[in-house]
């Protein structure tokens, strides 16, 4: 039995090593960590508002329905109809875009991808960094570029909120380790991912407010990727508590039956 235990320990150790190696691998570009609070309904509602106002004109969320979003985010139906939906749509409709795919392809070079599942494909940290990494680039067709997604076809949809950024350079220790605001040489730079930006033209929101807004939008996209996540953990806690109780009873039953086995 001791040998078997040793073997098991070896077995588990190698499992741990391989899973640790899996966790360590798979690093892509430097991205900023976003702290999501999926129970913050106000943040999710703000994200929904930003999504409808700034994303849905070109991108669709073709697997999601308006009324489901409203129900999950505690948005009253009246408000949903008045501020989130186009006049012709019904509340149970899928969140499709009004931009025809062929036109979009002609205008941007690619059809803007559907965003329902983007948070599951790209991961929230990537989205949070991407949304803040647009900068002015006169050499690109749209006049914009993105330091995380080089030469992306998408223009900066929210420049009126963020303002206009200029790429100053790259930082070596980008991503999670970078400080968002670094003051050097008397000038204020913003570090997003591994890129250093200078705000040449301020927008409606301050950099801190814009970061918060993009956090909210990222939270909304994360919700949109899997609406069930808002309730699945709660259901999980109760289900597991029930099985734990059941296991206790089953154990007692087993003990009772096995009393006469020697």
């Amino acid at each position: 039995m001791k040998k078997l235990t040793t073997l098991l320990v070896g077995f588990l150790a190698s499992a741990l090593v391989s899973s640790a190696a899996v966790a360590a691998g798979g690093h892509g570009a430097a991205v900023d960590k976003v702290y999501l609070n999926m129970s913050d309904k106000a943040a999710l509602q703000n994200g929904a508002k930003l999504f409808v106002n700034y994303c849905l004109s070109c991108h669709s969320a073709q697997y999601a329905r308006y009324n489901r979003v409203a129900e999950d985010l505690d948005i009253p139906l009246q408000q949903l109809k008045s501020s989130l939906m186009f006049a012709t749509e019904k509340e149970g409709d899928l969140m499709t875009t009004t931009m025809p795919a062929e036109d979009a392809k002609a205008w941007f070079g690619v059809t803007p991808p559907d965003l329902t599942l983007v948070a599951r494909v790209r991961k929230p940290d990537w989205i949070y960094t991407y949304l803040r990494a647009f900068y002015r680039d006169d050499s690109s067709p749209s006049g914009w570029n993105n330091s995380l997604f080089e030469n992306v076809a998408m223009p900066h949809a929210m420049y009126e909120l963020q303002g206009v950024q200029k790429l100053v350079g790259k930082v070596a220790d980008g991503g999670d380790h970078a400080t968002d605001q670094s003051a050097s040489d008397g000038e204020t730079y913003t570090v997003v991912g591994d890129a250093k930006f200078e705000l040449v033209h301020p927008g409606k929101l301050s950099p801190a407010e814009f970061d918060k807004a993009m956090g909210d939008l990222t939270a909304f996209l994360t919700y949109l990727g899997e609406p069930a996540q808002l309730k699945r953990k709660t259901i999980g806690v109760f289900s597991i508590a029930f099985v734990l109780l059941l296991m206790g009873l089953c154990y007692l039953l087993k003990k009772e039956y096995w009393r006469d086995v020697h």
Binding site: R122, P227, C250
Partner: protein
């Protein structure tokens, strides 16, 4: 009241008598549950048999509900899965139970097989139990592979593309065979439809039938136990094994505890980590299938990765190594064995032929052969294992060392298969592939050397 109960009892008896005269209900119940004698010393490892059946039932039931909403159509499949995740009440739960269930099934089956290996459950007289189990393992891999295409995500698409194109390497018929399997020149709607048919009808039927045969064979020879000794060697006055207890109620109640323990872990994954950071549900599979956009790394799900690693490890370098090794082994055999001269010359000729074959064939073809051989090895285990004892508790040290090395190699292969290959990782995969096959090829040798411990006459039970 007492009279009523008595009457009920009597009528129940009368019903069973009526039934038993027409169908062997009580007989089957007794033979397979109430009077099926199981060794009393089953430990933790013995939960995985009943858990595998539970998992099969969960997959069948959740599968039925998924089928009610899923559309096996290349234009609709992806959206129908999202419809299940969003619009079907508790559809997300059913889908996560099924997707997590596939991985849980493989965890259970791998542990169940490992149990067999460490306690010698594959040994005489249980070879048929083991062989049917191996067929179940292969059928399960086919079932999982075909099921993985159905969400019609981009990884589903490209995973299937890569695996089906493996058949291309078969001489002469390869290309037409792959076309026949796909029903098209590429993975398409036709492929999706037939995989759906296989996944929901053919393979589940085969699996259920095989599990039935697995149990028929097991109950014919009786269960092994952690001591690897036959409980029928020690009988009491009534002819019952002294160390046997009826499966029902003893192991039914015990397995209930195991079921609860498993469910807690299973539900923990479903409710808290349903995609397990991309291990259970890969992120590329949340984008619809796109024949024009290959994912950066095409990787199968974790349960296939050890075999996928073996497939990828087969490069020209590995074949050269095989060629040199076959010459060296042939020469060594010719020099050190005591056969007649013509036989020894034959060894050298065989070695040279093998070397020439290895040097002149493609890495891809050998990759497929090695991957298939890696699975075939499991079928041969009952005859490769020559140890005089069954259980690892009494086995000699060389077996334990070899098994430990094999396990480490198997895990490393599994890890490497999840990652894009680099030169160093390919080399590691090649070393581990050699260890993998060496474990099986050398098994007749290392199981027959070393000192085994004396067997007890009765099973050992922890004092409680």
């Amino acid at each position: 009241m007492a009279i009523h109960r008595h009457d009920n009892h009597k009528s129940a008896n009368a019903f069973m008598e009526w039934m038993d005269a027409r169908m062997p209900v009580t007989k089957v119940w007794n033979e397979h549950l109430a009077e099926y004698m199981a060794p009393k010393n089953f430990n933790f490892w013995y939960y995985f048999g009943s858990l595998a059946i539970l998992m099969l039932v969960i997959q069948l039931l959740t599968g039925i509900f998924l089928t009610m909403h899923y559309k096996p159509d290349a234009a609709l499949a992806f959206a129908s899965v999202e419809y299940i995740m969003r619009d079907v009440p508790f559809g997300w739960l059913i889908r996560y139970m099924h997707s997590t269930g596939a991985s849980a099934f493989f965890v259970i089956v791998y542990l169940h097989m490992f149990r067999g290996v460490i306690y010698g459950s594959h040994r005489e007289p249980r070879e048929m139990v083991w062989l049917i189990g191996c067929v179940i393992f292969v059928a399960l891999m086919a079932e999982a592979f075909m099921g993985y295409l159905l969400p019609w995500g981009n990884m589903s698409y490209w995973g299937a593309q890569v695996i089906i194109s493996l058949f291309d390497v078969i001489p002469f018929v390869g290309p037409s065979l792959t076309e026949w399997i796909r029903g098209d020149f590429v993975i398409s709607d036709a492929t999706l439809n037939r995989f759906f048919a296989f996944h929901v009808i053919l393979l589940p039927l085969i699996l259920v039938a095989l599990v039935f045969l697995h149990l028929v064979a097991l109950h014919h020879v009786g269960s092994n136990n952690p001591d690897g000794i036959d409980i029928y060697d020690e009988l009491d006055e009534d002819g019952h094994p002294k160390d046997g207890i009826p499966f029902h109620p003893y192991y039914t109640v015990k397995d209930l505890v195991g079921v609860c323990g498993f469910l807690i872990i299973y539900m923990g994954v479903i409710f808290f980590f349903p995609d397990m950071g991309g291990i259970l549900l890969e992120k590329d599979n949340f984008a619809p299938a796109n024949p024009l956009q290959t994912p950066p790394d095409i990787v199968p799900l974790w349960y296939f990765t050890p075999f996928y690693s073996i497939l990828r490890a087969s490069t020209e370098t590995l074949l050269q190594f095989f060629a040199y090794s076959s010459v060296i082994i042939a020469v060594a055999a010719a020099i050190f064995t005591k056969f007649k001269l013509p036989v020894r010359a034959g060894f050298i000729i065989l070695g040279l032929i093998a070397a020439v074959v290895f040097m002149n064939s493609s890495g891809k073809a050998w990759g497929v052969i090695l991957m298939a051989a890696a699975i075939v090895c499991f079928f041969l285990l009952p005859w490769l294992d020559r140890s005089p004892v069954k259980s690892i508790r009494y086995r000699s040290l060389p077996f334990k060392v070899a098994l430990a090395i094999f396990l480490v190699a198997f895990f490393i292969l599994g890890y490497l298969g999840m990652n894009a290959p680099t030169p160093i990782k390919t080399l590691m995969a090649q070393v581990c592939t050699c260890i993998y096959f060496a474990f099986f090829i050398l098994m007749p040798w290392f199981t027959s050397i070393g000192k085994t411990k004396p067997l007890p006459t009765r099973v050992t039970v922890k004092e409680h």
